[in-house]
């Protein structure tokens, strides 16, 4: 079986600055990988590269069978990225945001309600514009979009940030549920213990590269 993510000596530039300086990485299908590293180590860039948002400057990269240096557009329908920003439209309601995202990625619109209900966004909140939501509720809306789209590869950037206790439990159960469905999950987190309990393996990123041995990092 081909790995879900395969990177070899990947270099990604932002202007003249190397976000990734030759990262090599392999994540199997169905795996849950926890990426850790200091601020600015390249975790977010790694996720954005896997989402097909960043162009590859050097090296090779394949995600879900798509060559990153050739075709990043068709890859994007199959990945879901939960970033620091939530990609939501402020003026639209939770329900409208969900339905728009589903229609855009060619999924069934009827998945919107169950996904919202799962994240406790049913009822009044469902018809509330995102602009009036709290930060935690926006986070949940973004998660609901992800859940409804149910992509083959989940890329989660600090998913626990800003969520309350209930939200964190929900998120954990979502991650566990996606494993049951055979989805691949890559999550970045500073909450090492919590993330480690969710994941199959740890990948350490430093200086824009992947350190193969997570040696001596407590």
């Amino acid at each position: 079986m081909a790995p879900a993510v395969f990177l070899h000596e990947a270099v990604v530039l932002s202007g003249r600055f190397p976000l990734l300086a030759g990262a090599s990485l392999q994540i199997e299908e169905g795996e849950i990988a926890h990426i850790r590293g200091a601020n600015g180590a390249g975790k977010t860039s790694l996720l954005r590269l896997c989402a097909g948002l960043l162009p590859l400057h050097r090296g090779a990269g394949f995600v879900l069978g798509h060559d990153l240096s050739l075709d990043r557009r068709s890859l994007r329908r199959q990945v879901g990225l939960l970033g620091h920003q939530s990609f939501l439209y402020e003026e639209l309601t939770v329900g409208e945001n969900l339905r728009y995202a589903l229609r855009a990625s060619g999924c069934d619109r009827r998945r919107a309600e169950p996904a919202a209900a799962r994240l406790s966004l049913a009822g009044r909140l469902f018809d509330t514009p995102v602009a009036r939501l709290s930060a935690g509720q926006r986070r949940r809306t973004a998660l609901a979009v992800l859940l409804a789209r149910d992509p083959a590869l989940w890329l989660l950037d600090e998913p626990h940030a800003g969520l309350d206790e209930e939200g964190r439990h929900l998120l954990d159960s979502l991650i566990a549920g996606s494993r049951a469905k055979g989805r691949t999950v890559v999550l970045c987190s500073h909450e090492h213990d919590h993330a480690a309990s969710l994941s199959d393996r740890v990948i350490v990123v430093a200086g824009g590269r992947v350190l193969q041995e997570p040696a001596g990092v407590a």
Partner: protein
């Protein structure tokens, strides 16, 4: 280097040609019976306009080559930028000489003549393009967007020209129509005109090449910086 010598030769020939054009145009050629001394403007004005259009055409072609995936290379972006910069300078000169012509023939500095109006619009169109090129940001992003802006601008030129011409022709015949003025260009005048076209074209080539070299050097500097930047970035991950 050989290319260096060719470049220097181009520059020298071009400048010598321009000097000769001025000398011939100002001192040797006779006054025209209808225009008097003003005819001397004709030795520089059309060739400046020609260079401007040549430069924009070159910018358009290079932008196309930059956008085409198989020929994408920063050198085409540099060429487009270099050429457009020279083009804007010559468009400015065309406007100034055209304006002087207008002042003496019609007594006004500006007239809404189709050619003049089109040239003025071209001037602002490409000022916008150059402004876009100077926006700070990822060089590849800016290069790609500039290339698209260059296409949009160039496609606009014939539409502008056609609509402006039609706009004016409904009121009065076009005013700058050299052919209808029975201006007899012959002998030393024809030669001066020809020399002017040739030397201004050479000057264009020389300026564009110099500007292009500057771009290429900046690029090379950045490229050489890349390996260093990669080293530094990797070193961030090594605990001191």
């Amino acid at each position: 280097m050989k290319s260096n010598r060719i470049l220097r030769l181009t520059g020298a020939l071009g400048l010598a040609g321009v000097v000769a054009t001025f000398w011939l145009g100002l001192f040797v050629t006779p006054n025209a019976e209808f225009f008097g001394s003003l005819v001397r403007l004709l030795y520089v004005h059309p060739s400046m306009a020609w260079v401007a259009f040549l430069a924009y055409g070159m910018a358009f072609l290079s932008s196309l080559l930059y956008l085409w995936p198989r020929t994408r290379h920063p050198r085409f972006d540099h060429l487009a930028g270099a050429s457009a910069e020279v083009g804007v300078v010559f468009t400015g000169l065309t406007l100034v000489t055209g304006s002087i012509w207008g002042r003496t023939t019609w007594g006004v500095w500006w007239t809404w003549d189709p050619l003049l109006t089109t040239t003025a619009l071209l001037f602002v169109l490409y000022l916008g393009y150059l402004a876009l090129r100077r926006v700070p940001g990822d060089p590849e992003v800016v290069a790609r967007r500039s290339a698209i802006a260059a296409l949009i601008a160039f496609i606009d030129v014939p539409i502008v020209y056609f609509s402006v011409t039609w706009w004016r022709s409904l009121h009065q015949p076009p005013t700058v129509n050299l052919a209808s003025r029975h201006l007899y260009v012959h002998g030393i005048m024809a030669f001066t005109l020809f020399l002017s076209f040739a030397s201004f074209t050479l000057v264009y080539a020389w300026l564009t090449a110099q500007r292009y070299r500057l771009y290429a050097l900046a690029e090379k500097e950045a490229d050489e910086g890349l390996d260093l930047a990669l080293e530094e970035r990797r070193a961030e991950g090594v605990p001191a």
